[in-house]
Amino acid sequence: MADLEIKNLHARVADGEKQILKGLNLTVNRGEIHALMGPNGSGKSTLANVIMGNPQLEVTEGQILWKGEDITELDPDVRARKGLFMAFQYPVAIPGVTIVKYLRMVLNAHREERGESEIKLKDFRQLVQGEMERVNVPKEFGSRYLNDGFSGGEKKRLEMLQLALQRPEVAILDETDSGLDVDALNIVSQAVNAVKAESELGALIITHYQRILHLIKPDRVSILVDGRIVKEGGPELVEQIETEGYKAIRAEAEALGADVSTVA
């Protein structure tokens, strides 16, 4: 049984007409890096948001299974406390809420789920400061407001700080690499690799580009076109896309009935 299993998933924007995911199958296991690539508009971010339970999207058919349990209808916070995590492509600002206040609430929510008492202030401080150093987030950021007034790169580092603190079993990185310079990309990659090494993280890395996959080595690669997985393979698939572009998988996608007009 896979840790996270997506079965025949169909989804659209809530109350919308247009189907975005059209029978998607995918698995992610702990300790495994699964890369998901695909052209613009193929449904990558939709998949990430549906897995996390974004109420703005609606599952019309199929299932999301967590260790065999159907979580398709669960609230996002319940999924998170089970060990699922999503690093946002565009982290949302919460003005007036300091990062430390927020992080403490998050940690305590997870602790409560595990039947543990609230984290002691001293332990919390130590833990957060330690992880802040690792992901290169300045200590002073702690008293600033969540995702408010930070640069794109800083926000992504804050997402990684949360990854390191929450220690999920499976994380989805929704184009975490987009808009990052080389240094920031290195920090993000190191954080993922470190958490993976320390706590057997499984990750679904959604990306347009190959460069993050040179820093975080994928075990498996899936290509998403028009709402379904059209090709699966190993790391060699990354190289193939890199040299030939998505047109390399055009024929296979077409054979599966995908609309390939988005594939150059």
């Binding site: 919460i94 003005p95 809420v97």
Partner: protein, 483 residues
């Protein structure tokens, strides 16, 4: 002006406070009432006889008695205002007790305060706060102040902090010189009413150059059903002095209405600074119709920090008249309107001298069909060149049945000015909720967090103890509001 959060590097220290457990609702915490062992309770309704009786009880000088009677004429002659809120039509002036005396006099020791009344203030935590962090306390119960005390050191420096009735007896010239000079009795119908039947309130005088470091606090408590409370406050800050005055208020939960109608006058002499903080938490049967106005002379600063949580209807627009060059005025406000409530709050700033500056920063939250309005007036007179002002109004709606309105009026008669105005209305964003939930925080906690964040820039202007209380009150208001 609210500044960005400090980056002191003092990670986490300030965070403990907002995680306080909440275990009581308004009725349990503030909505209780005591048995009535009163020395005097006027029958309902207002007339010449009642006004004369109040003056007689207080053994006032003739000028005050005349002032009251004249004001009564103004009150009777004026129509009930029709602007503001349709709820205003529900105020029944004949169904109110205008004067209730619970105690012989204002005491300087809690031990001398009648037992029931003392217990009430104990329950509200006033004596404890006094010991911990205040320079002085006044406690008003019904019509009159039952306890008043000020730090000895301050008294030695010449600071006066007493109830208005005592001030009229002990400092008659000072009171007469300033009384009703900022808000004349015929200013509006409610100010006229207050002028006729006023009782209690604080009188504060801070001598030149004296800085009162810890706040002075007044607490106003209504106990009786259909009570009218009409305190009268003057704060006079002499040249270069500083004082921070804080007021809080609560009342029992009754099914019929009470009326609270205060008049507050602030005078900041050259170079003085007055900060006046209100945490209004009346029960939802109280009409809260208050006139607050300040004069800031040359280089003086007046700041109103005004938090309105309770009441049925609040109409309150703290004003600052900037009368001297480089004077500065500021109004920071939070309004929270829940089911059946209308918070019609705002601000008024008048720039009447050159190079004066002002900020208005108003935040409102509406939920469960509540209604909040910002009603503001910014005026820059001819000759007030070089004036600068910034008005920011942010409204947050928690659901589709609640309502918010903004009426910002700006009148400018001078060319060389710099005026900015911004208004935003937002709903608790689905994206914000999803972000917080996707990290493990449940929906109700997530909504609370967003609301607390929304008011944070103003809450952090409050003294720490009140900030804690404010966050608790907001969380209380938020209980069960989602899902």
């Amino acid at each position: 002006m609210p500044t960005p959060p400090e980056t002191t590097g003092s990670l986490l220290n300030e965070e403990e406070s907002s995680l306080v457990d909440l275990n009581a609702d308004y009725t349990a915490k503030y909505g209780f009432h005591d048995a009535e062992n009163y020395l005097y309770k006027a029958p309902k309704g207002i007339n010449r006889e009642i006004v004369e009786k109040i003056s007689e009880f207080k053994q006032e000088p003739q000028w005050m008695r005349d002032f009251r009677l004249k004001a009564l004429d103004y009150f009777l002659a004026r129509e009930q205002p029709t602007w503001g809120s349709p709820m205003l039509a529900e105020v029944d002036y004949d169904d109110i007790h205008y004067f209730v005396r619970a105690s012989e006099r204002s005491e300087r020791s809690w031990d001398d305060v009648p037992e029931d009344v003392k217990k009430t203030f104990d329950r509200l935590g006033i004596p404890e706060a006094e010991r911990k962090f205040l320079s002085g306390v006044g406690a008003q119960y019904e019509s009159e102040v039952v306890y008043h005390q000020v730090n000895e050191e301050l008294e030695k420096q010449g600071v006066i902090f007493t109830d208005m009735d005592t001030a009229l007896r002990e400092h008659p010239e000072l009171v007469r010189e300033y009384f009703a000079t900022v808000i004349p009795p015929n200013d509006n119908k409610l100010a006229a009413l207050n002028s006729a039947v006023w009782s209690g309130g604080s009188f504060v005088y801070v001598p030149p150059g004296v800085h009162v470091e810890m706040p002075l606090q007044a607490y106003f408590r209504i106990n009786t059903e259909n009570m009218g409370q009409f305190e009268r406050t003057i704060i006079l800050a002499d040249e270069g002095s500083y004082v921070h005055y804080v007021e809080g208020c609560t009342a029992p939960t009754y099914s019929s209405s009470s009326l609270h109608s205060a008049v507050v006058e602030l005078i900041a002499k050259p170079g003085a600074r007055i900060r006046y903080t209100t945490v209004q938490n009346w029960s939802n049967n109280v009409f809260n119709l208050v006139t607050k106005r300040a004069i800031a002379e040359k280089d003086a600063t007046v700041e109103w920090v005004d938090c309105n949580l309770g009441s049925k209807l609040t109409m309150k627009y703290p004003a600052v008249y900037l009368m001297g060059e480089r004077a500065h005025g500021e109004v920071l406000s939070i309004a929270f309107a829940g089911n059946g409530q209308h918070q019609d709050a705002g601000a008024k700033i008048v720039h009447a001298a050159p190079n004066t500056t002002s900020n208005i920063f108003a935040k409102s939250i509406s939920k469960d069909g509540g209604r909040s309005s910002y009603r503001g007036l910014l005026e820059v007179g001819k000759g007030a060149y070089g004036s600068k002002s910034k008005v920011v109004c942010d409204a947050l709606l928690l659901d589709d049945k609640s309502r918010t309105d903004t009426w910002p009026t700006i009148r400018i008669d001078e060319d060389q000015v710099d005026i900015g105005h911004e208004a935003t209305v937002s709903k608790v964003g689905d994206e914000q909720l999803f972000y917080l939930q996707s990290h493990g925080i449940d929906e109700e906690e997530a909504a609370k967090l967003i609301v607390n964040g929304f008011i944070e820039p103003i809450v952090k202007e409050l003294p720490m103890e009140y900030a804690v209380e404010m966050n608790r009150l907001i969380e209380l208001q938020m209980e069960g509001s989602i899902g």
